[in-house]
Symmetry: C2
Subunit: 475 residues, 2 copies
């Protein structure tokens, strides 16, 4: 007997090469997995369930995949946009004071925000502070966690001039690799497989060759992917050219890093030729449209990557300058930014970005066999969307079905009413069941204020670019 | 005695050149107008009110100005994106069947959607069907209505080849001008001034010179602006060059149309030089970032227009291919699209687009003295935003205040909990008080289905580009 049978829904199964729409659709869930998908008429004949839920006027689709984020920075949401050098000019003064309470408050806020916008998988990349994995485990969400690895001096890089080569500290590299390995061995496939892990050398410019290769080997031994910021900025390219005499993609190809094990994040600075090289290798791409749009004014080359057959996931990156963790936002911006980049309204249509936010997102992070579509045998990670909201209506069926474009271009995420992960409801009627929302709101406000007070008392804040906007009355 | 005193809020007054933030702010409202703005401490000393409302953890700001839209197309939301020639390839087959019931259903849905996203002024441009003005009047919203004027043959332009000059039908021009004049004389400044009117020659390519000049004269006699699609597409420019030997901006300058009376919509095809010419004249610009992004893949030259001192309002345009009427969406997209266009993250910061959505939007449509800021003497059009939502938090005060960037880049519109227009609540706790939401949802779904059935039965639907996407399973 199934646990749940959902009937009478608009289903976007994301099976096949399109969106796999089923009218008057039904889904059955048992022991955390999808056991039947079809029309309501079909499933009502064959399925008996403990609970049958009428999902009339709802769309049921796979939960959204947020493949790359730095969740903790939600605690300083909004301190680093509308400026050049967002990280140095905006985030750094706050980052200096990011201790464990602030880190966990930000991470919890991101998870809460994401659940309420339909995200079921959180691909977080972070320094693995104590309690980090537990945030995701206890929230009942699916997570792909990557512990930061680099060989940069622990005391930071103050004193370096722009353009100076980063000094590598092998001991620091050793410690971060060991910590990541311990994290992987503790957490990978834990919580019924809900929490998975990748290895995360931060960037090829931030760690020496031997340790970079060691990461790949350690990951491969465990069947894990490597999650690497790649061609993420002109500073990285400058470091690579100075140190190795070549740009990042060529370097990665030379050392054998370009293959299906790699999740290459951003590609902000990759040329079309470099993008094609990476895509052809079988490596995957994480595209953070909102973040890179705000902080760099750049549209990364995901369209070229996909045209070469490459698989792309979306990521909300960081809220210091994105400023939200919302895959609906990423899907919409991805479509619009690419239409603008190519001056072509047919580029990246709604269905394509919906695939990036679901099945292709799952494939990009190595979970394409487990999640990302409504398909028998897959984990039951699903969201339920009220399609009677006035910003979505009408939902027309033919000759042109309007469901997908209206979700992509008009939905905000607030139309998601229920969310199920691993067959368990984590949100029902917009109440998050696994988190104390009020406590998290108060915690993140208090932690953000504490960080702000520390920054205000530190002369470092005088370097912040947004101070000018404050003084002009623009904030 | 005031009717309302709101206290303890974050105020974005939009006074001055920035956002006019007041901490622990308060606003008093009496007889539909703002009678005091300041700190809570100040106003509590001087104001006595029938009702005092604690707006703690809320932001109060002017209602949003949606300066250009075709509201009725909400009834066919989502039939015309991701294609070239959206109007012909997507909208036209449905437009053919747009009768009064469909028109009114779409218009009502747009108003409902807009209220729920914080819009208080609706700048609708439409063929003035019976009942049109009443939708806005009865919903209690502020509206700037423009009745369509053109001299195109009433029976349409079937049979014309692309590139053929449109035939002008002076009789049709006469009828549409007379109808617009009757509409203006009935509706302008009606409902305590809540409903205002502009004259709307559809485009300089769609009406002859004499009638175009007559529109300006009739408008001027009544103190009204003219609301004209200007340089809106390559088809328009082609018509103008063939008919008059010059592009639209030069033509408008020559005939004396470029002045403060003009609201120039789109400027999609205007060069930077043409944009500067129009801005310098004192004409205003309506910028529809979402719509033009989706349907053309173009970012109109609003940044150049503003740099010349020009005043810009935002518009949600049309839901057939935008696909939403949400000024938050327009503010965010305007900032991001322009950062991308200029590859510069400092272009169009949050505060600038917030001004376009409020005070500058009001100025652009000639209502800058009445609405657009929280200022003593202005009409009380205000929205109340819950800033404790997890996608907005934390709200930090210093050294960098995060309220404005978090509203612009992370809010969705759903955070607006109350809306007041002319000193009366039209929405309270997200319940729209002036409309029957459920009836409108049902009406627009039914009308949309009726139109779809008519299109499906008409061979014209075989020309629709999105049919290919339907057949491929992408919709």
């Amino acid at each position: 007997m199934s646990d749940y049978l959902f009937i009478n829904a608009h289903l976007l199964t994301m099976q096949g090469t399109g969106v796999g729409y089923i009218k008057n659709g039904a889904v059955a869930v048992e022991n955390g997995r999808i056991v039947a998908v079809g029309t309501t008429a079909e499933l009502q004949k064959t399925i008996s369930a403990k609970e049958t839920i009428d999902a009339k006027q709802m769309c049921i689709m796979p939960g959204l995949i947020d493949g790359h984020m730095h969740a903790s920075y939600a605690v300083v949401r909004g301190v680093a946009q509308d400026v050049w050098n967002w990280m140095q000019a905006g985030l750094a003064p706050y980052h200096k004071y990011m201790d464990q309470p602030a880190f966990l408050a930000g991470t919890r806020t991101c998870v809460l925000e994401g659940i309420k916008a339909g995200t079921t998988l959180f691909g977080d990349y972070a320094w693995p502070m104590d309690g980090w994995g537990e945030v995701f485990a206890n929230a009942g969400v699916r997570a792909m966690l990557t512990a930061r690895i680099n060989a940069l001096p622990a005391q930071g890089m103050a004193g370096l001039k722009i353009g100076d080569l980063y000094p590598f500290d092998e001991q620091r590299g050793r410690e971060t690799i060991d910590r990541a390995t311990a994290f992987a061995d503790n957490w990978h496939r834990s919580h019924d497989g809900r929490i998975s892990v990748m290895y995360g050398p931060q960037g090829p410019d931030m760690i020496g060759l031997d340790q970079l290769m060691e990461c790949k080997k350690l990951a491969a031994e465990r069947g894990l992917m490597v999650h690497v910021h790649t061609a993420q900025g002109d500073r990285e390219i400058d470091q690579m050219v100075k140190r190795y005499g070549e740009r990042t993609p060529a370097y990665l190809q030379e050392i054998g890093y370009l293959d299906e094990q790699l999740l290459a994040v951003h590609l902000t600075e990759a040329t079309d030729e470099e993008t094609q090289l990476i895509a052809k290798s079988g490596a995957k791409m994480a595209l953070c449209s909102g973040s890179i749009g705000i902080i760099d004014g750049i549209v990364p080359p995901a369209h070229v990557f996909r045209q070469m057959g490459g698989v792309v996931c979306l990521g909300s990156d960081q809220a210091a300058g994105n400023n939200c963790h919302n895959v609906w936002n990423e899907m919409k911006l991805t479509s619009l930014f690419n239409k603008i980049k190519y001056k072509d309204p047919t580029v990246m249509p709604a269905w394509e970005v919906l695939r990036m936010g679901t099945i292709e997102g799952a494939q990009a992070i190595g979970l394409g066999d487990e999640i990302g579509s409504l398909e028998v045998g897959k984990k039951a990670d699903m969201i339920f969307i009220d399609v009677t909201e006035p910003n979505i209506l009408p939902i027309l069926d033919g000759p042109i079905r309007t469901l997908v474009p209206n979700l992509i271009f008009a939905a905000t995420g607030r139309e998601v009413v229920h969310s199920m992960i691993d067959g368990r409801f984590v949100m029902r009627d917009r109440v998050v069941l696994t988190l104390d929302e009020r406590a998290i709101r108060e915690e993140v406000q208090a932690e953000g204020e504490r960080l702000s007070a520390a920054v205000a008392a530190d002369p470092v804040h005088q370097s912040m670019k947004l101070l000018e906007a404050m003084e002009a009355g623009n904030l």
